[in-house]
């Protein structure tokens, strides 16, 4: 135990507040559009692990980034994807879980040629 606590049984009282079973069958998944910091941070969603990656793109990612003027110009077949620090080419027909997405995974994507408003990363 690295924490220095007065109670010797501190460990038995830890509440793992964000354990996967607390999310009613969903996993928390974070997604971030690189070079588009108008979206101030990665955004979070509770999603079923069986959801196809293609549905994740169509139903979750696209509508939530639609407000950005660059969104209309994205070529969704030419994205660079990174899941939990590994560059990867997700299979759109397979599920999030089959694409290696765990609870609290981070999905980052780059849109080559689109670097935000006037290329300012905004």
């Amino acid at each position: 135990m690295s924490i220095n606590a007065i109670s010797p049984d501190y460990e038995s009282h830890i509440v793992f507040r964000d354990a996967e079973q607390n999310f009613h069958g969903n996993r928390v998944i974070y997604v971030h559009w690189e070079q588009h910091l108008s979206f101030c941070s990665a955004i979070a969603f509770p999603l079923p692990p069986a959801m196809p990656f293609g549905a994740f793109v169509e139903e979750v990612i696209k509508p939530h980034y639609a407000a950005h003027p660059d969104a209309a110009h994205v070529d969704w077949s030419k994205l660079v994807w990174m899941i939990d620090g590994e560059k990867t080419a997700p299979d759109f027909s397979k599920s999030l879980a089959e694409n290696g997405i765990q609870h609290k995974s981070l999905v980052r994507f780059w849109t080559p040629g689109l670097d935000g408003y006037k290329s300012s990363a905004s």
């Binding site: 220095n4 007065i6 354990a19 941070s41 939530h64 407000a67």
Partner: protein, 504 residues
């Protein structure tokens, strides 16, 4: 013949140390169970020096006198309708941020010092902590009384204590104090007494109070003066605590250093709210956050740590990163609130052309390159009737609980992502500073109550924005959204029109 009067030193000795005793029915270790588990070694409690030598009876007299003066000014301010004399209606949002974000932290500080004032074995620090505990309670009270006058006119103020326990961004100062108060008494004294009240306090108080003075808010200025003599006593306690611990035993140094590193970084993150207030929220800005950081941290803090080097203490880890971040955090924070304005209990706005020029002048290295384009883009979108909102919830840092919107040191175009694994689960952080804090005590921070995850778990009133606003007691359409078009703005414009009529 009149009775002989005691000297100040004798009085102090009798009224503090003379009232203490060694317990005999119970061992001292059982009476003071909290002051040994942290590993701090104290050889001689009587070596504690209190330069103020204040006794409780004198303390009451001083404070009562200050109260009389403060309430006279607050009354005068109310009778003269002082609220109509502030620089602009936008200024009221500074007070909303203060009352919801800072005032409940004063109460937490009161509780924390009450704990230290019970559980430290030495009577000198115990009495000093008790007085500071009372000070903090008084600060909360006087802040509530000062700002309650604004509550008669402006939105976003009335539910401040309810909001503090629930609203997503208020979990930042709340978790900061929860962390300090659930530590042992020595860590608490270093966290709040030294790191916050000594090293960083000027970055909190001076901006708010000089901001108030510049913007015509005389009631808050008077509160500031009333608190100032307390603050100087608190700073003395903060510096005394660190010297005392470092002089008592060499084994204390690595423990104290770890706490200084941790609480400097935590304090820096909380103060990002002040940075945003200084650079964006004051209608008449006083100085930039970057300038304040240079004066109050780089120069004053630099001198302090030079002085403490003789004990082997070095400046806080990541102080260089914090200094580099002073170019960015105010812009990044205000952008967070601008896009989540629907869930904030104060109003937001895009800085006007004159204000943007001021920011360009104050931030020649960063504003025009990275942040002006963002405001210009959002300004254009707003003009086209497409005001920019972020309609998803942000990823939060597990330690500081702020949306993970801070960028890589040296690369303002890329978000800094850091993570750790603990017992099979991933935890995310905004910075190396926050990651280190988690890695040192993962058992504690795995328990963080992260507002976004709590909403997903169904613990915040429901899944929709109106559900969550209701849970926050945040009145949709009044407390939140842009200043332009708000009831606050309407009221302010009516006051201005009345003034013109009076002038004619």
């Amino acid at each position: 013949m009149s009775a002989k009067k005691l000297g100040l030193k004798q009085r102090y000795a009798h009224m503090t140390r003379g009232l203490d005793w060694e317990t005999s029915y119970q061992p001292m270790d059982k009476v003071f169970p909290y002051d040994s588990f942290e590993g701090i070694k104290i050889k001689d409690w009587s070596a504690w020096e209190d330069p103020f030598r204040l006794t409780m009876d004198t303390y009451w007299k001083f404070q009562a006198e200050k109260e009389r003066k403060l309430y006279a000014v607050i009354d005068a301010f109310a009778q003269n309708n002082g609220q109509t004399g502030i620089s602009d209606g936008r200024y009221a949002n500074v007070l909303k941020l203060f009352l919801t974000g800072i005032s409940p932290a004063e109460y937490q500080a009161h509780r924390g010092f009450a704990f230290a004032g019970r559980h430290l074995r030495g009577v000198g620090p115990r009495v000093a902590a008790q007085m500071q505990s009372l000070d903090e309670l008084r600060h909360l009270q006087t802040q509530i009384h000062t700002i309650s006058h604004y509550n008669k006119h402006f939105d976003g103020i009335s539910e401040f204590s309810h909001m503090h326990d629930r609203v997503w961004y208020l979990s930042v100062p709340k978790s900061f104090f929860d962390d300090a108060r659930s530590a042992g008494p020595f860590e608490y004294m270093i966290a709040i007494g030294f790191a916050f009240e000594y090293v960083l306090t000027n970055l909190l108080f001076v901006p708010f109070m000089s901001g108030a003075a510049y913007n015509g808010d005389m009631s808050t200025v008077t509160f500031g003066f009333s608190a100032q003599s307390d603050e100087s006593r608190h700073m003395t306690l903060g510096i005394e605590v660190i010297k005392f611990l470092l002089e008592q035993h060499p084994d204390n140094l690595p423990i104290v250093q770890k706490w200084v590193d941790k609480w400097f970084w935590r304090g820096h993150r909380v103060l990002g709210l002040v940075a945003m207030m200084m650079d964006y929220m004051l209608p008449k800005p006083v100085m930039s956050w970057k300038e304040a950081w240079e004066i109050y941290y780089t120069q004053a803090g630099g001198a302090l740590f030079q002085d403490l080097a003789r004990y082997g203490l070095r400046p806080p880890k990541y102080a260089d990163i914090a200094t580099a971040e002073a170019e960015h955090i105010s812009h990044q924070n205000w952008a967070i609130f601008y896009q989540y304005t629907h869930a904030a209990a104060f109003h937001t706005w895009i800085p006007d052309a004159k204000h943007m020029d001021w920011l360009s002048e104050k931030y020649p290295n960063t504003f025009d390159k990275y942040y002006r384009p963002r405001w210009e883009m959002w300004g254009r979108m707003a003009k086209e009737g497409k005001r920019f909102y972020n309609m998803a919830l942000p990823q939060l840092c597990q330690t500081c609980q702020i949306p993970m919107g801070y960028t890589e040191p040296g690369d303002p175009t890329t978000i800094a992502f850091r993570s750790s694994r603990f017992r099979g689960e991933t935890y995310h952080f905004c910075s190396d500073g926050c990651k280190d804090i988690f890695d040192a005590e993962p058992e504690k921070f795995a328990q963080s109550w992260l507002p976004v995850h709590q909403i997903f778990q169904g613990n915040c009133g429901g899944a929709t924005i109106p559900d969550v606003l209701n849970y926050y007691r945040l009145a949709n359409g009044a407390d939140n959204l842009d200043y332009v078009g708000s009831p606050d703005e309407k009221l302010w414009n009516e006051w201005q029109a009345d003034k013109l009529k009076t002038a004619v």
